[in-house]
């Protein structure tokens, strides 16, 4: 926690602790989250507005560090018997939360028990698919969702003589070669979140499975299968291009996003949530475009899958507390509030109504980059392969997959061997997880 975040948290705590002197008992709702910077302010403002809107409940928002930190803090608190009511968990933690029966309270159940009006169909299916059972029961409440897009430095593309933004992978490779020839000799194109880009989103976008059982959504006895000829071909292309840095690897997380902002990489795949940072750092004309695809793959592109986080409700709380949580979720779902949240934070709107409203207001005409992820997510009706993914131990599994991809890019393994190993090691982890998650 930085000093500023701490100060902000302290200020919020002070505001709620002293300024409000309730005439009657107020039920406190603890909300642990991982939002930093501008998004931290938004979270605090949401809690503040909710508290001002009624007098029975008080939401206390607490920053708990990074996504894994917040999740671990929640798990540790649960083990110690004092879990918060709401905890923000990133998408890769979904399977872990879901398998923890008794530790969590499913959102559809929460809303029903509390008698709050709730229609799962009001939310964007591309988002809720990730957080719902195969029967369509929503388990967690979508909060901040993003997707992966291709960020384009328009100035540099023009300088390199590339007239049109590339749409397919072969076009991206060509453009990268031109960029390299035009002086970008350390990076033709690159990406953050290596496995998200080249395994998870890549598979969904081409409508090929990452694993069986609808990528794990239909059960934990899933087997990975992202070592298909298409995956091998794609990784082989990257290996070939890595040799002279036409493609240059940028690590597993998003620490290297600044390679785009600094102008070093003119084509860069990363989260649509990079918008705010790009806006404040890039000194050139930029835009976002849909992720590239292989044109020889039938029906590609399909639709992309989401990243970001959702809110999980922890189990074992009183009915009154759950009522407060349900009211807070209704408050968050409000169309105007969601539309505003989307436009301010750059995260996706979670309800259809908020999306329609933003569109009707003409917001996307002025900010087309914010619509790219939505167009990707809703490009086609999601299939078994593009609804989402839910694998146990996903946080660590991503590291294992990345390890193998790194070995391939460093020339230590062939594309096929690396993907076979990634699949085999991942499957071993899935079997361990399956045994613990009964």
């Amino acid at each position: 926690m930085s000093v500023r975040q701490f100060a902000a948290a302290a200020a919020v705590a002070a505001t709620f602790g002293f300024a409000v002197s309730p005439a009657h008992a107020v039920t406190e709702i603890q909300w642990w989250h991982a939002m930093t910077g501008g998004n931290n302010d938004i979270v605090n403002k949401l809690a503040e507005d909710f508290n001002a809107s009624q007098s029975d409940y008080k939401v206390v928002a607490t920053f708990k560090g990074s996504y894994p930190d917040t999740m671990n803090a929640g798990i540790a608190a649960f083990r110690a018997g004092n879990a918060p009511h709401i905890i923000q968990v990133f998408e890769v933690g979904t399977a872990t939360m879901m398998s923890a029966k008794g530790a969590i309270k499913p959102v559809y159940e929460l809303m029903k028990d509390a008698g709050e009006p709730f229609d799962a169909k009001a939310y964007l299916p591309a988002i809720t698919g990730y957080y719902s059972t195969s029967k369509g029961d929503m388990l967690s409440f979508p909060f901040n969702s993003s997707s992966m897009v291709m960020w384009i430095n328009k100035d540099e593309l023009k300088k390199a003589g590339i007239a049109e933004i590339p749409k397919t992978w072969p076009e991206v490779f060509e453009a990268a070669k031109k960029l390299k020839a035009a002086g970008h000799d350390t990076c033709g194109f690159s990406n953050a979140w290596a496995t998200w880009a080249h395994v998870e989103q890549f598979s969904a976008w081409h409508n090929v499975p990452i694993g069986t059982k609808a990528n794990g959504l239909d059960g934990f006895d899933t087997v990975l299968e992202f070592n298909s000829p298409l995956h091998v071909k794609h990784l082989q292309n990257l290996i070939d291009l890595q040799k002279d840095k036409t493609y240059d690897y940028s690590g597993r997380g998003n620490q290297s996003e600044s390679r785009f902002g600094s102008g070093e990489c003119a084509i860069f795949l990363t989260s649509s949530g990079y918008y705010a940072t790009a806006k404040s750092t890039a000194k050139f004309d930029f835009t976002s475009a849909p992720m590239p695809y292989y044109p020889d793959v039938q029906n590609a592109p399909q639709n992309s899958i989401i990243g970001g986080a959702s809110l999980w409700v922890m189990g074992g709380k009183t009915a009154d507390e759950y009522k407060g949580v349900a009211k807070f979720f209704s408050f968050l779902s409000d169309t105007n509030r969601q539309a505003k949240l989307h436009q301010e934070s750059g995260y996706l709107p979670i309800t259809k109504a908020a999306y329609e409203k933003t569109k009707a207001d003409g917001f996307y005409d002025k900010n087309p980059t914010l619509q790219t992820p939505l167009k990707e997510l809703t490009n086609k009706e999601p299939t078994e392969n593009s609804r989402g993914l839910r694998f146990g131990n996903m946080v660590q599994m991503r590291d294992i997959w990345a390890e193998e991809i790194e070995a391939a890019l460093a020339g230590k393994k062939s594309a096929k061997d690396a993907l076979d190993a990634a699949v085999a090691r991942g499957n071993a982890m899935l079997r361990t997880f399956e045994k613990t998650a009964k």
Binding site: Q242, G251, R425, M429, K435, K438
Partner: protein, 293 residues
């Protein structure tokens, strides 16, 4: 007649030992016993289901080729960090021990890195040597050296070794400096009068007199590299690329905290604990004989 102090009665010695024993029990034996217990269980992250699986966690662990890679990496990493951090600190301490103008300023500056949290130190080094953004990596690349810790395992290992050494040098420096200042100046002067040069004075007088400090630091440093470096590794390389900086302790952290696989993580920490206990025992049995108190 012997005049040593002898306590009569049984109670008092136990009472005097009690505080130390209580602390050891609570902060070492209890967690250690928990780790051993956990290593025989298979449990989900929330602790909702747990099941006794006997030695299954250990079997699975030793069936992983990655675990042997991690053991190898640990051997290289720990010897490099221990030797370098002790060597560099000793060099700095002998230099700072000279009569220097503003010597106390140097000494203070030397100690500062110890106050930096390992993760912060890691981030610092990450940014200095980030292949394209790093302030020092850029000149390296401009000179035509393809510095790339993101894909080159050797470069990544060099980077985490430097970060871990940098973090530990300050601590070693502090002890070496104190040790040096405790050596009577007269002994060194006598050596000088007898015609011994600075190097000979160092190896025949100063270094042997420093041996208790060196031995203590050796033990402390080995414990440091084995148990406390995961924060640095996490921040700098996350164990990558391709597992080339995954040491045993980082694997404990990654499998347990990031992966939620507490059984395997516990089994690994038990293995790690056994190794460090063995190493410490060897040190006390064989190396300590060479120490002159």
């Amino acid at each position: 007649m012997e005049k040593s102090v002898v306590f009569n009665g049984r109670l008092l010695p136990y009472l005097l030992l009690a505080p130390q024993l209580t602390i050891t029990l609570i902060f070492f034996y209890w967690p250690a016993s928990q780790a051993i217990r956990q290593s025989f269980l298979r449990e989900d992250a929330f602790g909702l289901n747990s099941e006794f699986v006997g030695l299954e966690n250990y079997q699975a662990l030793f069936a992983q080729p990655e675990y042997y890679t991690a053991i190898g990496t640990t051997a290289v990493f720990s010897s490099l960090v221990t030797v370098l951090s002790l060597g560099v600190a000793l060099l700095f301490a002998t230099q700072a021990d000279k009569n220097l103008k503003g010597g106390s300023v140097y000494k203070t500056l030397m100690i500062w890195p110890y106050a930096v949290a390992p993760a912060i130190a890691g981030v610092l080094w990450f940014f200095i040597f980030h292949p394209t953004l790093g302030t020092l990596a850029r000149p390296l690349r401009l000179m035509g050296f393809d510095w790339n810790p993101m894909l080159n395992g050797t470069h990544a290992l060099i980077l985490v070794v430097m970060a871990a050494v940098w973090k530990q040098v300050a601590y070693n420096f502090l002890f070496f400096l104190a040790g040096l200042q405790a050596i009577p100046k007269s002994v060194i002067e006598a050596g000088a009068i007898d015609g011994a040069g600075p190097l000979r004075r160092f190896w025949t007088i100063i270094f042997p007199l420093l041996s208790p400090t060196t031995f203590f630091l050796l033990v402390v440093n080995i414990v440091y590299v084995f148990f406390e470096t995961f924060g640095i590794i996490d921040a700098v390389t996350s164990g990558g690329p391709a597992g080339s900086t995954t040491t045993m302790v980082y694997k404990v952290f990654a499998d347990g905290r990031l992966g939620g696989d507490l059984g395997s993580s516990a089994a690994q920490s038990v293995v790690l604990m056994v190794i460090v206990i063995a190493l410490t025992a060897i040190q006390f049995r064989y190396v300590e004989r060479k120490v002159q108190y």
